[in-house]
């Protein structure tokens, strides 16, 4: 019984001492020098910052501009990718506090196709994904998209950044094979921190 009391007293003493030493003093008294007494207290301002890698697409669905007659005429062939119909794609925003790479690729090797409800003619071969070309400028730099090799769309090798830009598409349409219907291609944007 006496031993138990001793333990209790020791525990109380430890708690008292511990509490006193752990409790930070919030105030100070300025006592000297008499002419201009001074004392200081410190405070800390802390911020925990996480890895920030954010990719925003202004839209997840873009309607491709259909070819007009001049662009989809049997007598005419586009001289370059830049002559194919232009579609303004999503506005891409990357927010990151570390270096990053953004790649673009086709999520599938070919367009999906749903035949026109009236005409009802199916394609014999799928429309390849590479018929869609992308660029970050509307009039230059278009590159056919690949499902097997993601292309470098944008990067920030030296550090994080806030970057915003628009992606443009130009799609090649071939008179002999692109039958009436709805064509759809999934485009993958992949942001990776370095």
């Amino acid at each position: 019984m006496l031993l138990r009391h001793k333990h209790f007293v020791v525990l109380l003493a430890l708690l008292g001492l511990g509490g006193r030493s752990l409790k930070a003093q919030t105030f100070c008294d300025a006592t000297s020098p008499a002419a201009a007494p001074s004392c200081s207290r410190v405070a800390t301002a802390t911020a925990s910052v996480a890895q920030i890698l954010r990719l925003d697409l202004s839209t997840l669905s873009t309607s491709m501009r259909p070819p007009d007659l001049a662009q989809f005429d049997s007598t005419r062939t586009a001289g370059s990718v830049g002559e194919n119909p232009l579609t303004t794609g999503p506005v891409v925003t990357v927010k990151s506090n570390r270096p990053w790479d953004l790649k673009i690729s086709a999520a599938q090797p070919s367009f999906t196709f749903r035949a026109d409800a009236v005409y009802q003619v199916s394609r014999s071969t799928p429309k390849p994904a590479s018929d869609l070309a992308w660029s970050v400028a509307p009039n230059s730099g278009f590159v056919p998209i690949s499902a097997s090799t993601p292309a470098d769309l944008m990067s920030s090798p030296e550090g994080g950044s806030y970057t915003q830009f628009t992606v443009y598409y130009r799609t090649r349409w071939v008179f002999t094979s692109d039958y009436p219907g709805i064509y759809e291609l999934k485009v993958a944007y992949t942001l990776t921190g370095r």
């Binding site: 930070a24 919030t26 105030f27 100070c28 008294d29 300025a30 006592t31 008499a34 002419a35 201009a36 007494p37 001074s38 004392c39 200081s40 207290r41 410190v42 405070a43 800390t44 301002a45 802390t46 911020a47 925990s48 910052v49 996480a50 890895q51 920030i52 954010r54 927010k95 990151s96 506090n97 570390r98 030296e158 550090g159 994080g160 950044s161 806030y162």
Partner: protein, 229 residues
Amino acid sequence: MRYRWIYGAAAIVTMLSIPAVSQAQANPCDAYSGDSTVTTSGHPTCSVTKNATATIGNLLKLAVVNANVDLIKDAADTIPFFNTWTANGSAAGTTGSAPATVTDLYQAPDTNLVIAQGNRGFVVNVKAQDAVFNFDVANGVCRKPATDQAHCTTAAALAGKPVGDIFFHPENGTNGGSWLQLTTSDQELFSSVNGARFTSGIELKSAWYYATDIAGSYTATLVYTITGQ
């Protein structure tokens, strides 16, 4: 027999001392010297003057309540970064330089509460203890003054985050509502000419830059000082 004589002598001595005691009670102020007054006409009165003295020193007390504040509420929040982008006119900006519109910066959810008490004039100042934040590296990445930089190339080792990325504003202060950039030199928060009890929350805003403010824990030490004047 001998004891009987002793008791008799003690009784005589006691009887002789009684008139002396009565004489002292007739003039109660006799026991005092100096500031005593005795009035004998009418009702006798005795007045005694005593000084009540207190020695008061310089009383200057400074308290900082809620001394440890978080600059960012949520570690994964991108708003502090985006607000800095906005404050710099939708541009990257430069760490350590004041953005164009400091008011757009992210404001810390909590404030330091500074209490000053003095029986003489005083001024309360604030400064940063060091020129850069202490950086607690999260993933061994390269930023000063973290010590784990052995694997970092010179180019990869980012400079320390300057404390000038913090801006402060006393809710009840001298500067009339302006946001001031924190430096390592004292800047006045508030003052009193004749002494007073003064309380003010100290609001903090901070700038966070995508290019340099990598993941980790950043800590700045603020020094509040009260000085008599």
